[in-house]
């Protein structure tokens, strides 16, 4: 119980902290932060329900006005903007990442970490994000998918990093990968 509380809280904090670390700075000066990598890792390392709760905890704190979203943003306003769906997709995405890790325990950690991050951290989160934009922007699904395509390469890079980190953790501290230990 205590371990679960500590891991969920620390992973929510880690995801928030990753929002302040630029992992790549694009040619025109826009930094891509690692916050969604935190969502992927939460699910891949902690497993489905703990990973989902870590992301849920973080978005609740963001909604309450704690500036924990990348770039020091926070508050209820974010959930009413067109990109609010992505935030709501985080806990679901982390849950799916964890579920895939738990179900396919025998597969090589890099491969399953990458697959789980792509499905949970990209597909599921984007589905929620696109749905949110569809409901608020009055554009067609296809137009919205074009609109968000620009962010996919950065997220694919994060999924690869997520796979690498899962592999390193499985090698050097397997006891911490709760998704594989139950």
């Amino acid at each position: 119980m205590e371990r679960n509380i500590a891991y969920i809280a620390l992973f929510a904090a880690l995801t928030a902290a990753l929002g302040f670390i630029p992992i790549i700075t694009l040619a025109f000066g826009v930094p891509i932060t690692a916050q969604t990598l935190g969502v992927m890792l939460g699910g891949c390392i902690l497993g489905s329900w703990r990973g989902g709760l870590a992301s849920l905890l973080l978005i609740v704190l963001i909604a309450l006005g704690v500036p924990l979203l990348a770039g020091g943003r926070g508050g209820l306003g974010l959930f009413f903007s067109p990109s609010g769906g992505f935030l709501i997709g985080w806990p679901i995405g982390a849950y799916v990442c964890g579920l895939i890790m738990e179900r396919f325990n025998g597969i090589h950690p890099f491969a399953i970490g990458l697959i789980a991050s792509v499905i949970g951290g990209i597909l599921v989160v984007y589905m929620a994000g696109v749905m949110g934009m569809f409901l608020t922007l009055e554009q067609t699904f296809i137009e919205i998918i074009y609109l968000v395509m620009v962010f996919i390469p950065g997220d694919l890079f994060k999924a690869v990093v997520s796979g690498l980190i899962v592999m390193l953790l499985c090698k050097y501290r397997p006891e911490s990968v709760l998704s594989r230990n139950g």
Binding site: M1, E2, R3, I5, A6, Y7, I8, A9, L10, F11, A12, A13, L14, A16, A17, L18, F20, I21, P22, I23, I24, A34, L37, L41, I45, L57, L58, V60, L61, L64, G65, V66, P67, L68, G71, G72, R73, G74, G75, L76, G77, L78, F79, F80, S81, P82, S83, T136, L137, E138, Q139, E143, L147, V161, L164, I165, L168, L169, R173, S176
Partner: protein
């Protein structure tokens, strides 16, 4: 840890959080249904006045809190211009501005502890179905305490990297940072366990 609450006290601070959230929810539903341009402009003006009433410094603070959303709004408008639906884009932008600035006003004028107390009250019925929600406040506190710690660790890892390499560390810092966080989680778990056993 910083929060987005306004240090300038306003009459809105005295309104119960639950009322403010109810007003926000109703306004959001109504605004997204509205198509009358005149009413939307009047509502936008009302939002501006609501933010101006506590004083010019409060308004400046509100604009500063909203500024990170501006590039996204410009992007949405440009997208509509590009797809030939400029008027529709502008109407949407006005709707977003009304709802987002009202949500920001709620955030700025509601204390974090009031919001947490409300959430604790809302999840209380979950106890009846056997879910232990007593640790919720502790979990919120743990996250808020841990973020500055983790940022400090990142700063130190960054210095260590730079003293050895000319390359930017970027994603390479994430693995050691996660190891620190996992160690910290194990220590925190021990501390919570000790505290719970002390409390009987």
């Amino acid at each position: 840890m910083l929060n987005l609450n306004s240090p300038i006290k306003t009459p809105y601070h005295r309104l119960p959080v639950v009322w403010k959230l109810a007003i926000l929810s109703i306004t959001t539903i109504v605004v997204y249904q509205l198509e009358n341009h005149l009413i939307l402009v009047v509502l936008l003006l009302a939002m501006f006045l609501l933010n101006l009433m506590p004083g010019i410094n409060f308004l400046k603070l509100a604009i500063r809190n909203l500024s990170p959303i501006i590039p996204f709004m410009v992007f949405i408008l440009l997208w509509h211009v590009f797809t030939g639906s400029t008027v529709q884009g502008m109407v949407l932008l006005v709707k977003f501005m009304i709802v987002i600035s009202l949500a920001n006003l709620v955030t700025m004028t509601s204390q974090l502890d009031e919001m947490i107390a409300l959430i604790e009250k809302l999840v209380k019925p979950l106890r009846k179905i056997g879910l232990d929600v007593s640790f919720l406040g502790l979990t919120f506190g743990l996250v808020i305490r841990s973020v500055p710690n983790l940022l400090e660790i990142t700063r130190r890892l960054n210095f260590s990297w730079r003293s050895r390499s000319l390359k930017r560390p970027g994603w390479r810092l994430i693995f050691p940072l996660i190891c620190f966080a996992l160690d910290d989680a194990d220590h925190v778990a021990e501390a919570i366990k000790a505290r719970r056993s002390n409390n009987g």
